[in-house]
Symmetry: C2
Subunit: 160 residues, 2 copies
């Protein structure tokens, strides 16, 4: 993989549009309004998933964990080093730790934790960003990408 | 559920023996040496699982996440409030955040993070215990339960 592939903000927005589309299809089926995908710097979507907590009753079925699991399955190994994680909202601590454990260094997100909380989806009192700053490896966060659309999507799908 | 059921250290050790047994069966199949279970205070094992990262290639298939997913499936809801999480080793940040998100308040473990690291299974530089202290809800940690056995199991199954 070419680590020097240019990943422009325009490219990040295009990735986010794809992820947001899958998240919207999820909410149409009654899922919570979150989506995430794993992309190569070159632009290939290895996996895109929505939150599936509602349909599976599994509290850990966040979009990021689902996308990471599917991406590992696609690659046939538990290591996503070099890939980018794109999420419609700032990953929660569980997902941020999963991202780091998978070896992912670049995390792109739309809405910040405060919007997630405002939409009624709760918080553990520490954001994914705050947690990432405590890891022994560098996680590069690219927030507020395609932000207005991600924020609107969340606030239009508040927790019932 | 009777919240006042006496949960003695003897009971915790018995739970841990059950979890350790499943973890050992996992390592016999080539899995990583970690087990976890979800128990009611009365003593019912709702779910016990081993780590399945090796067999699934899924980097998130830690024993705790597997046990939580299975327990949610058993209950038919994404909420494990009132239940206890028992793990052979101190849960990593991903698993500790999952535990808190599931509404679990009591976490029982055998070997501490330092032993996990010594056995070669890495660390994000922040322990689950350190993370739990930053949550906006109280997590009660019961460490070093059946500790010698859990430590020996880990050190006898170092990462290859």
């Amino acid at each position: 993989m070419n680590q020097s592939s240019p990943v422009t903000e325009l490219k990040l927005s295009r990735w986010m549009q794809q992820v947001l589309q899958i998240a919207k299809e999820g909410t149409d089926r009654g899922e919570n309004p979150f989506g995430a995908g794993v992309f190569s710097p070159g632009g290939k979507a290895l996996a895109i998933a929505c939150n599936r907590v509602v349909s599976t009753n599994n509290v850990t079925a966040h979009a990021e964990l689902n996308a990471i699991a599917e991406a590992c399955h696609q690659l046939g190994k538990p290591d996503l080093q070099g890939y980018w994680l794109v999420a419609t909202a700032e990953p929660c601590p569980m997902c941020m730790a999963a991202i780091a454990t998978a070896g992912i260094r670049h995390v792109v997100f739309g809405a910040v934790q405060a919007v997630v909380t405002e939409a009624g989806y709760g918080s553990l009192g520490i954001s994914g960003t705050d947690l990432a700053s405590q890891f022994n490896r560098e996680i590069l966060l690219h927030g507020r990408i395609y932000g207005n659309e991600c924020i609107s999507f969340l606030l239009n799908n508040r927790k019932g």
